[in-house]
Structures are given as C-alpha cells and as structure tokens.
C-alpha cells in the first residue's frame, strides 16, 4: 500500500526503519518510469519525510538535509528507468539518500576521517539517560555528536543497517562501525547526563 497520507506537524509519528518501508504500487512505478510528473510527485510525497529525517540525522543541519533530499530525488528521477524491481523500491531510494548524505559529509567536512578519541567508558549502574530524556533533549544531544558517529549510530539503530553494510558504505572497517556505535552511545549518555546536571540547579530554583 502506498502511504500518501500527509502527517501533520501536530501528530508526529515515531521514526523507524518501517517509516521508509513503503511499498510503491507497480502501476505508480510504471507511470513514474514514463516520466509522469503526478506519479513522481506521489512517490516524492510518500518518501519526503523519511528521506528528510534520515538526511537530517546524518548531515546535521536543515539546509544541507534539504539539499541532500533534493539531489537524491533528482537522482531518483534520473535513474528510475534503471530500477529493475528485484529489491524493494524503498530500499533503493533509501540507499540513494544515504549515499548523497555521505557524499555531502565527505565534501563539506572531510568527515570520513572524523573520529573522536575519548576512550570507551563502561556504563554505570544508573538507567540509561535516554530512558528518562524527552525527545527534544535526546535530539539536542544527538545533534552534538560528531557527524560520522551520529550517522553510523542512526544507520545501525534506526535504519537497521548491519555493521558490514555500514563498513562498505563508509569505506571503513566493520570494527570502525562497531566502535562508532559503542562510542556514540557512550558520548550520548555523557551529553545527556551533563545536560541533566547543568539543568538541575535551574529546576531546583524554580521549585
């Protein structure tokens, strides 16, 4: 079924890999292959939010994410005739968005070599802070991670790419992908805990 219902800002839906998993009917694909604007727009409308969300999580700023989605959709339009249908269409489109995002990261910041040096710290006994943090805090902390770390974390945890797949896409090793996921989690925990400590006096003062 083609999910074309618009999701208004008042009722945001949780992001998941499933949000990209939209099966486009063969008829719409056939019309899109013929270059029919209405069919292409239907496809665009179906995927604009998952594509933009993925791009935003990877590149980290709204303007770059818009450009990534724009370029990815142009690639899609250019190459839709080459789509053979032996894999899900959404997976093909998602891969285009991921590739465009990685290209943008490499181009803008040489981020392919962006690794942070802090050592892994074993988590304490306290419950992970993301269990307690609201979405806005978690999102703020996520955006403070180094771009490649955030991208790998997102690709693995949300889009469910394997470490092997991430290694192939980023041109890095499987252990690089695993370490980015582990360190990203550690860094995120630290960022959330720090923010909690910093905001605590304010909260106390307001009570």
């Amino acid at each position: 079924m083609l999910a074309t219902e618009s999701r208004g800002p008042a009722s945001p839906e949780p992001v998941s890999a499933a949000s990209f998993q939209i099966d486009v009917p063969d008829l719409v694909l056939a019309r899109a292959r013929r270059g029919e604007a209405r069919a292409l727009e239907t496809i665009y409308r179906a995927f604009e939010r998952p594509a933009y969300t993925l791009a935003l999580r990877m590149v980290g700023d709204a303007e770059s994410a818009r450009e990534v989605v724009h370029d990815a959709m142009l690639r899609l339009i250019e190459r839709i005739g080459q789509f053979r249908g032996d894999a899900p269409f959404w997976g093909w489109l998602r891969q285009i968005v991921v590739n465009e995002s990685l290209m943008r990261l490499r181009k803008d910041r040489g981020v392919a070599f962006d690794e942070f040096d802090d050592a892994d710290e074993p988590p304490g006994d306290a419950p992970p802070p993301w269990l307690l943090a609201d979405a806005a805090r978690l999102e703020r902390a996520l955006m403070r991670l180094p771009a490649m770390t955030r991208s790998v974390l997102w690709l693995h945890h949300v889009e469910e790419y394997t470490h092997q797949e991430i290694a192939a896409m980023t041109g890095k090793s499987v252990s690089f992908s695993k370490s980015q996921v582990a360190r990203g989690g550690t860094r995120l925990r630290r960022l959330l805990e720090t923010e909690t400590k910093e905001s605590a006096p304010c909260l106390a003062a307001t009570i």
Binding site: G35, L56, R106, V158, T162
Partner: protein, 190 residues
C-alpha cells in the same frame, strides 16, 4: 536488511534504538517539490531544445578558443613528428589538462559575469560546481600523477559541461531569445 550480524543484539531491541526511533519525523520546509517539478519540466523539453543551445554555446566556445590561437600563429608550423609514448606521457597529459582547466575557468568566469543566469541553468550549474568541488576534494587526496590523471580528466569534462551551461545564459543574453525561438546562430545550421 540481509546479512544481519548474528553475534549482535538486534539493534532495534536496545533501549537506545527504541529512544531514537521514537524521535519525531521531520519535514523539509519549505516544500521541495516545486523546485523538483521545475527541473522535471525542464528535462521534458524536446531534445532539440535541450541540446541545441548548449551545443551552440560549445561551438561558440570552441571558436572563441581557436580564433585567438590561429591569429597568433601566422607562420605555418612544420608537421610535428610522431613520437612514441614515453614515461612522460602522464605528466604531459596532466600539464595539458591543467592548461585546459585554467582556460575553461577563465572563460566561465568571463561568461558568468556577463550574463544573468536562467533559474534552471543556475540549478544545473550549481550541481556541476558541486561535482567539481567533489573532484577537487579527491584531487587533494590523490597519490601521485597516476591517481590524479583520471580526476583531472573528470574535472575538465565537468568544466566543459559548466561552460556549456554558463554559455547558455550568455547566449540568451546575447540573442535576446524568447521561449520557443531558436537563436539566429542555430538557424544558420538548418
């Protein structure tokens, strides 16, 4: 996805994954579709209209580059003897590509300064400029001439594309072409 890591916990089963997946979706603002539709409409133009103007611009570029060269070479040069490929072939080709690249860049700068750019062409030009930037990044990491040679070829090819697009704007400005009217220079070809 296929080939899931068997030794890992399924990522979606971790609390962090659940928290990340619960973040709200975002939407591009403002809407991207009008830009995309415009590009799409541009690409659906008849082939002769898509290619005639860039081809005309490319021909003009070729003439612009050749005429000064011919004018400064009044004497007929003796034919250059054929020489076998040497180990310097790569360096020679690189030097030629550097020259060509500089020439094209100067021409593009001159044409761009002369003519306002049509919106569609501006988008295409920005895309090609992005690709040139990407090649430049790769050139920064190239190890030696052998690595750099294919990148320089790519750079020159992209600059030629950019020259054609920028020249398109110049052609519009020069001929005052209105939509659907073929430039006079192209009528000469018919």
């Amino acid at each position: 996805m296929s080939g899931r890591d068997h030794l890992d916990i399924h990522p979606s089963a971790t609390p962090l994954a659940a928290a990340l997946r619960a973040l709200p979706e975002a939407a591009p603002m403002p809407d991207l579709w009008p830009d995309l539709a415009k590009t799409l409409a541009e690409r659906k133009r008849p082939r002769w209209r898509r290619y005639a103007i860039p081809l005309g611009a490319a021909a003009a570029l070729a003439i612009a580059l050749l005429v000064p060269t011919l004018a400064t070479h009044e004497r007929v040069e003796a034919p250059i003897a054929w020489t076998p490929v040497t180990t310097n072939a790569t360096a020679d080709e690189l030097a030629a590509l550097h020259d060509r690249s500089r020439t094209l860049e100067r021409w593009i700068a001159a044409v761009s300064a002369r003519a306002p750019q049509d919106g569609r062409d501006l988008m295409a030009a920005v895309e090609v400029e992005d690709l040139i930037g990407l090649v430049d990044v790769q050139l920064g990491g190239a190890n030696g001439d052998a690595d750099a040679l294919p990148l320089w070829r790519q750079r020159v090819a992209l600059l030629e594309d950019l020259a054609a697009i920028r020249g398109n704007g110049a052609a519009f400005a020069a001929t005052g072409e209105q939509d659907g009217v073929v430039p006079a220079s192209l009528n000469l070809l018919n």
